[in-house]
């Protein structure tokens, strides 16, 4: 969706047009869900986060300036929601150290033989910053300029962060037995 089209769509939403709301949801629902899933590794949680993000976004839509990129705005809401949930999850895990490690379960071991699962597991080993830059580039298909704008960093910094994040991901994947062969 072009920037001008997106601004017009947001204005129509702000005017209360139901059809525009549906278009905006359709345009962003997979983006938000993918971000939430890749950042948390939990599909149920990703579903809850996606709903919370759209509720917050539409409740605050009246204050959104349509000259800004809607992607950057909803992305920020989504990342904040993800980070809140991850922090709350860490606190719960700290309280319950006896919780079963899903990686020990035979069914999970079988699943992780697949590369896709290994990549997701490796992603969760990375820092939140590394995860964000990889998800933006490889799952949400954002350019370096868009990544820079979304994260509020210069393009060059985005480029070097991406390079380092890819390298760290690759190192974890090699350790897990996934390589290019």
């Amino acid at each position: 969706m072009g920037e001008a089209d997106e601004s017009a769509l947001v204005l129509r939403c702000q005017a209360g047009e139901a059809r525009a709301r549906e278009e905006l949801v359709t345009g962003y629902e997979r983006i938000v869900y993918t971000l939430a899933y890749r950042m948390t590794g939990d599909r149920d949680e990703a579903r809850d986060i996606t709903q919370a993000v759209f509720l917050k976004a539409f409740r605050g839509l009246g204050t959104f300036d349509p000259r800004r990129r809607f992607f950057s705005w909803i992305y920020r809401i989504a990342v904040n929601e993800v980070i809140d949930r991850l922090r709350s999850r860490r606190q719960e895990e700290a309280l319950d150290e006896s919780r079963e490690d899903p990686a020990d379960r035979p069914d999970v071991r079988a699943e992780r033989r697949e590369i896709a699962h290994a990549v997701q597991a490796a992603l969760l080993e990375l820092s939140e910053d590394d995860r964000q830059v990889l998800v933006l580039r490889h799952w949400l298909d954002r350019s370096l300029a868009e990544i820079g704008e979304t994260l509020g960093i210069p393009d060059r910094t985005a480029k070097s962060r991406l390079f380092e994040a890819r390298q760290r991901l690759g190192r974890i994947l090699r350790r897990r037995g996934v390589d290019d062969s």
């Binding site: 939403c13 209360g16 139901a18 709301r21 549906e22 949801v25 359709t26 629902e29 997979r30 983006i31 869900y33 993918t34 899933y37 890749r38 599909r43 949680e45 990703a46 579903r47 809850d48 996606t50 709903q51 759209f54 509720l55 976004a57 539409f58 409740r59 839509l61 809140d84 949930r85 709350s88 999850r89 719960e92 319950d96 919780r99 590369i115 290994a118 990549v119 490796a122 990889l134 490889h138 799952w139 949400l140 298909d141 480029k159 070097s160 390079f163 890819r166 390298q167 760290r168 991901l169 690759g170 190192r171 994947l173 090699r174 996934v178 390589d179 290019d180």
Partner: protein, 252 residues
């Protein structure tokens, strides 16, 4: 070692712009330096893992739940009706509730239809005892009351068919906040129903919900029991600068 060149070529490889010349040059750079060779192996592993990534498909029902949720958010509180709001809020929390609702409605209609049919066939017979006998036992409720700074909230907990329901009543209109906490791995909040025309202000997080009183008086929360027996629920009442806490009594 030309680090800039290495990074530029590696980027080209990630973006699918790695023709034979690019790959040969990368191999040459990697062969000349053991550190660079390791980095290239890492990047090759990442490239293999990241091939074919893209947007996830949406889970069934999520799109409809989102449309319902944003429509409600856009309409604002004035247009919300209590039962409609309950259903919509519940569906936002877990779209499977929509399916459950549809199944329950279908079953109810089936029972009514069957009753009418049987009533017609057995005209003149007293059906009341048979009908009463077919009803499930009434779920008993356990009550807990918290008092703090002039605010009083009565909690009534009942359980039925893998769900826990918590009703909150407040006879006074003293401003207060009620926070309920539970084990999120055992219990999941599914919906909030309120009595008035406006939704009470509430915030949720895994294992926690906070509601503002007096707006939330008469609300009922429903929880899905993820594990059999659900979880203990702890209530906290904050009012007039003080706080009172207690676990909620659960029905036997």
């Amino acid at each position: 070692m030309n680090q800039d060149e290495f990074e530029r070529l590696a980027d080209a490889a990630f973006d699918g712009r790695d023709d034979v010349r690019v790959r040969e040059r990368l191999e040459t750079l990697a062969a000349a330096d053991s550190e660079q060779r390791e980095r290239w192996k890492d990047l090759e592993a990442a490239r293999a893992g990241l091939a074919g990534t893209g947007l996830e498909p949406l889970p069934a029902g999520l799109h409809e739940a989102l449309i319902g949720a944003v429509s409600m958010a856009a309409r604002g509180p004035r247009e919300r009706g209590s039962w409609h709001s309950f259903i919509t809020a519940a569906i936002q929390v877990r779209p499977a509730f929509a399916l459950g609702g549809a199944v329950a409605a279908g079953l109810a209609m089936g029972v009514i239809g069957l009753g009418l049919l049987m009533g017609g066939l057995r005209a003149g017979r007293d059906l009341a005892p048979a009908t009463t006998a077919s009803l499930p036992p009434i779920a008993t409720a356990a009550a807990t009351t918290l008092d703090q700074g002039g605010a009083r909230v009565a909690f009534s907990v009942r359980r039925a068919a893998g769900e826990t329901f918590v009703r909150l009543d407040a006879p006074e209109s003293t401003p207060a906040t009620v926070t309920l906490t539970w084990e999120p791995a055992a219990l999941r909040l599914r919906g909030v129903r309120w009595e008035g025309p406006d939704a009470p202000p509430f915030e949720t997080a895994p294992g926690r919900v906070a509601l503002e009183f007096p707006a939330a008086a008469g609300s009922e929360l429903s929880f899905e029991e993820i594990v059999s027996g659900g979880s203990a629920i702890r209530a906290s009442l904050s009012a007039a600068g003080g706080n009172k806490e207690s676990p909620l009594r659960m029905p036997r």
